[in-house]
Symmetry: C2
Subunit: 262 residues, 2 copies
């Protein structure tokens, strides 16, 4: 703890996984990692042998207010020390070789971590240094490896981006937001009856102005107009606006008609 | 096109969404966005009124080799111009207000974008400037808004992180990697029969050394040992090692016994 007290209230959540940055090089990146952690609801940070020592002012400058995570970060000499009090450890690792280990996607790992956390067990998430990644001894400390499904032709993933993806999956694993919704704010989605009222109004005016005068084609034309207005969800407010548009256009047409008659 | 030819071969994929950065401020961020795009298989970049002009050397320096995306980026005066040839536009937007619009999660948007791309239609993904985000006129250019499910107590999301999440979801939407697998490399998962052979070997040696001499407790002890070895998947190579360990420990014990007898 460095005793600072700035930064956003991050609403820490109890048993979230501990992010362990192993031999991180740049304090900028440590700050960016803290910011990504806060975005995804990961609040516990441990640093194993940070190259430039700790604390580093740059980390706080680059964390966009995730100060509390940095304030509470602990420093450890070894991975073994950093994970000694944890129950389950996952290691992110782009291309593991010649080892026998469970390998999970980020999404698979997030689902497992949620189940583990529900049991009251504590979890560690290891991230390797910027260039080299985790070495074989680091990986041997983990129960399972996490490999993100990403473009194999361009695997150069920034450290904070790697933390972001995992933090995002951790948050999303407990999120129930529907994949698609219609934001209506002050108004609501119109009922079919309200839509029908508008379509009747529109059709009346189109009959009046002669747009539908071709009687053999009229049913198909009306149906096509109906198909268009049925395509998306229309709100009550939008229907009021559409009624207004039709009324005003029709008045304008009648007035012009009257002027031409004069 | 600036005519550079460095950078990684990104294996461009045909009909991937076009990332449109609206009034981006920092060239560093534009480079980081290109890197995140390459990670997730997004290859088409357009810039609307970049604050410091274009091209900017800093963007290439910060893209970790995603040069081709930057080389091919186009610059536009307005959002309308940048999306004029596209069929469907999604706008990322943290907190839209007072508008009526479909709102999707990143995952929901990725699923929809895959379906749209399969139909041969082209897609644009709008990201706003670093601080302000997209304004109301920008959002009115979009068919739908994308809002990430992330910690509402800490919404400060870096521009490149926002691109990363969407690029990751785009890639993942077409990925079929199992959520959990066991990487076995040169060896394979042992069959139950192979495991049984080892357990028989172990039990024989434990009988011989007297570890199981308490006959009433013996069945339960054997069962507990069996439960432990059944818990995870064991590989053929690991079983060979375990056979060797048991054999060697038993030999050592016999030899020590012989020494003690002498």
């Amino acid at each position: 703890m460095t005793g600072r007290d700035g930064g956003a209230d991050l609403h820490p959540i109890g048993n979230s996984p501990v992010v362990v940055l192993v031999r991180p090089q740049l304090a900028d990146n440590i700050g960016a990692c803290a910011r990504a952690m806060a975005n995804g609801g990961l609040f516990h940070l441990r640093l194993v042998a940070p190259r430039d020592g700790w604390p580093q002012e740059k980390a706080w400058r680059n964390s966009s207010g995730a100060d509390r995570i940095l304030d509470a970060a602990t420093v450890h000499d070894t991975v073994a020390d950093a994970v000694a009090d944890l129950h389950r450890v996952f290691a992110t690792c782009p291309r593991p070789r010649h080892i026998v280990k469970p390998v999970l996607t980020a999404r698979g790992a997030a689902a497992e971590m949620r189940l583990i956390a529900e049991r009251g067990l504590s979890i560690g998430l290891l991230f390797g240094p910027e260039r080299a990644g985790l070495d074989n001894d680091d990986m041997a400390q983990a129960d399972a490896l996490v490999r993100y499904p990403l473009n194999p032709a361009f695997m150069s993933l920034n450290l904070a981006q790697a933390v972001m993806v995992m933090a995002y999956e951790w948050w999303t694993a407990a999120d129930t937001t529907p994949g698609r919704t219609l934001m209506t704010n002050e108004t609501k989605v119109a009922t079919k009856g309200q839509l029908e009222n508008f379509l009747a109004h529109l059709t009346d005016q189109l009959d009046a102005c002669g747009f539908l005068r071709n009687l053999p084609k009229r049913p198909g034309m009306v149906r096509n107009i109906r198909h268009f207005f049925q395509r998306g969800e229309v709100t009550e407010q939008e229907l009021r606006t559409l009624h207004g548009i039709v009324t005003e256009l029709a008045i304008g047409r009648r007035q012009r008609g009257r002027l031409e008659e004069e």
